[in-house]
Symmetry: C2
Subunit: 326 residues, 2 copies
Amino acid sequence: MVKMKDVAELAGVSSAAVSRYLNGGYISADKAQRIKQAIELTGYVRSSQARALRTGSTKLIGVIVPKINSESVSRITAGIGQVLGRRGYQMLLANTDNAADRELEYLDLFQNHPVDGIVLVATMITDEHRRAIESCRVPIVLIGQHVEGAACVYHDDYEAAFELGHALAGRVDGKIAYIGVTEEDRAAGYDRRRGFEAGLRAAGNPLDSALIRLGSFTLDSGYGAARELLSVAPDVSFIACATDTMAAGALRAIDEVRGMGEGMHRVSGFGDNAFLRALTGGIPTVHYGYLTSGVEATNMLLNTLDGAEGENGLKTLKLGHQLMNV
Amino acid sequence: MVKMKDVAELAGVSSAAVSRYLNGGYISADKAQRIKQAIELTGYVRSSQARALRTGSTKLIGVIVPKINSESVSRITAGIGQVLGRRGYQMLLANTDNAADRELEYLDLFQNHPVDGIVLVATMITDEHRRAIESCRVPIVLIGQHVEGAACVYHDDYEAAFELGHALAGRVDGKIAYIGVTEEDRAAGYDRRRGFEAGLRAAGNPLDSALIRLGSFTLDSGYGAARELLSVAPDVSFIACATDTMAAGALRAIDEVRGMGEGMHRVSGFGDNAFLRALTGGIPTVHYGYLTSGVEATNMLLNTLDGAEGENGLKTLKLGHQLMNV
DNA sequence: TATTATGGTGAAAGCGATTTCAATGACAGG
DNA sequence: CCTGTCATTGAAATCGCTTTCACCATAATA
C-alpha cells in the first residue's frame, strides 16, 4: 500500500507538504503540481484509519433502526443515505429488531466506536433512552418521536390521527374498532390512539373502548386482532389500524369473514404503503414524508458537524402530513 | 477520554499488559484482576480507530445494495445484519439506487476505505464489475447473481421460472403475457424470462414474443406495461411478471380494466411479497429465502475473514426455492 | 548442578496520517 | 541597510493501540 511518505519522496517534498496539499493548506503552485502528478502516478489514497486516529473524525454516521425490512423505515433510510452520500459521509447501520435494549446497546457502541454522529429512528423512548441521549458524546438526531430537549424530526401523529378519526366518523355507519400498538411507542401507540379517539369523539361518534386491540406492527398481528374482533363483536363495521401493515392484515381478516373485497372499504391505516394503495385502490390512511424526514434529520445532523455557517444547528422539526382517501 | 495508558497506570502495569489482557495474551491472574478493576473504574473503552490503524482491521463490512426500500433487499439486509451483529462486525451500508456506476464507485470506495470485506447485492454484472470484483483487495461475496470465479449466494432463477411457467401453462386457458426486467440483470431479467418461456414451451403452450414487455422493477412500471398490454391485446388472460412488485401493478391494471377482483387470478410474480400474499390470498409466485441468503453470504464472508478452522471459505452456494399458490 | 522450557513482563517501535513550530527567503516600507 | 510581514517549508511530535523483543523468574528436565 502506497503511503503519503512515498508520494512525498516521489514528488521531492515532505509528507507535511502532501498533507497540506490534500487538505488545502499553504502550498506553492509548483509543488502542488508535482504532488498531484505523484499521486496520480502512484494511485495513492489516504488511509482513513490513520486520518481518523489523528483527527478524531471518521466521517461515519451511525443509524439505528428498529427494523430494516419495513417500508417506512427503509424509506427513511433511503433519505438518510442520500444526504450522507452527497455530503461525503457513510452510514453505519444498526438494526435493533424492535428490541429497546439493543437500541441502548448500539447507542453505547456507537459512542465508543467510530461515528461522528447518530440518527436514531426511534420507537420507544424510556428514561434510560433519555439519559443515554442526554449523555451522548456525539450529536444525535431522533426521527419519529418528539423528545423534549433532544433534536428530532417527527410527524404530528396526534393531529393526523385526529383528522383521520374526525373524517372517518362521518363516513362510517356502525361501530368502529381500533387496532393500535404499544403505548410505549409514544408516537405510533399513544398519540395515534388518543388522536383518533379524540377525532371520533369530536365528530360525535366516540370509540367504544371495548373495541380496542393491540397489535405488534406486523401484518399477522393485525390479522389476528381483527379476527378476534370480528368474532367477539360481529357488528363492527370498520377497523382503524395504527399502521398500514396491520391494516393489510385486518383487511384480509375481513375478506375472509365477510367475503372477498369487503375489507378494502372497512379498514384504515397509517403510512400510505405503496402496495396497499395499489392493491386496494386506496384505503383511508395518512401520508407521511418518510424520505423527507430522513433527509431533514441528516442535514440537520451534518450541519452541526460541519459547523455550517448558518445557525441551522440541532433543533426540532415537525413535518406535515396528508390524509389520503377520505 | 481515558486511554489505555491511564488504565495501565491505575492498575500499576504497563499498557502492553492491558493490551494483552484485552486481547487474551499472557497475563497473570493477579494483574488481570487489577486491570479489570481499573477498566471498570475508569469506564475505559478502547479506541477502535487506533486499533484499526495498528491492526489493519476495522471490523466493518461494506454492504452494497441496489435499493434499500424494497422488500427483498431489506430482507437480505436483515439477514446480513443478524450475522454481522452476532459476530462482532458492523455494517457500512451503501445504496446505489439502481445505478450500476455507483456500484463500482462504492466497490472502489470500500477498498480504500475501512472495510474488511464486502457483500454486494448484485443486479447487473458488467465486465467492469467482473474486473472490479477480481481485483478487490478485500474478500467479497455476491448475492443474487451467479458469477463465474466469484463467491456468490444465489437462487436458481431459471429453474424456478421454468417450474412456474410449466405449472401455469396447464392452469391458464388463453394467452399468457410476460412483463420482465432488463436482461442486463442476468438473474431477474434473462434467467427468469428464459426459464419461464422454456417452462411454457415444455408444457406445450409457448409464449408469444409479441406479448413480452419490459418493466423497471417498480409497481408503476408493472401497471403501465400491463395497461399497455391489455389495450393492445385485449384477449390476454394472464400476465406473469418478473417481480411481485410489478405483479402488484399489473394486478391493479387488470382490476381497473376488467373489474375489481379480477386481477388476483390473472397475475404471477417472483419473490412472495408478504403484502401481496395477504391482500390477494396469494398469487402464483416463487418464494426465495432472502433472509437466508443474507445470512449465508455473510457467514461465508466472515468465515474467511476470521480464518475459521473448517474449510468453509469463499465458494458458491445455490439456495433452493419454492413455488407458491400453483 | 546445569540447562531448558515456560509463563509473564515492560520498553519501545511502529501503523499513516495531521499539525505545531521554528526557520527560510522574498519583499515592502522606513 | 534594517525590520516586519508573509507565504512556504520540513522535522518532529502526536493520535492510542498492538506487537515484537529482550529479559526474568520459576519449574522441569537432563
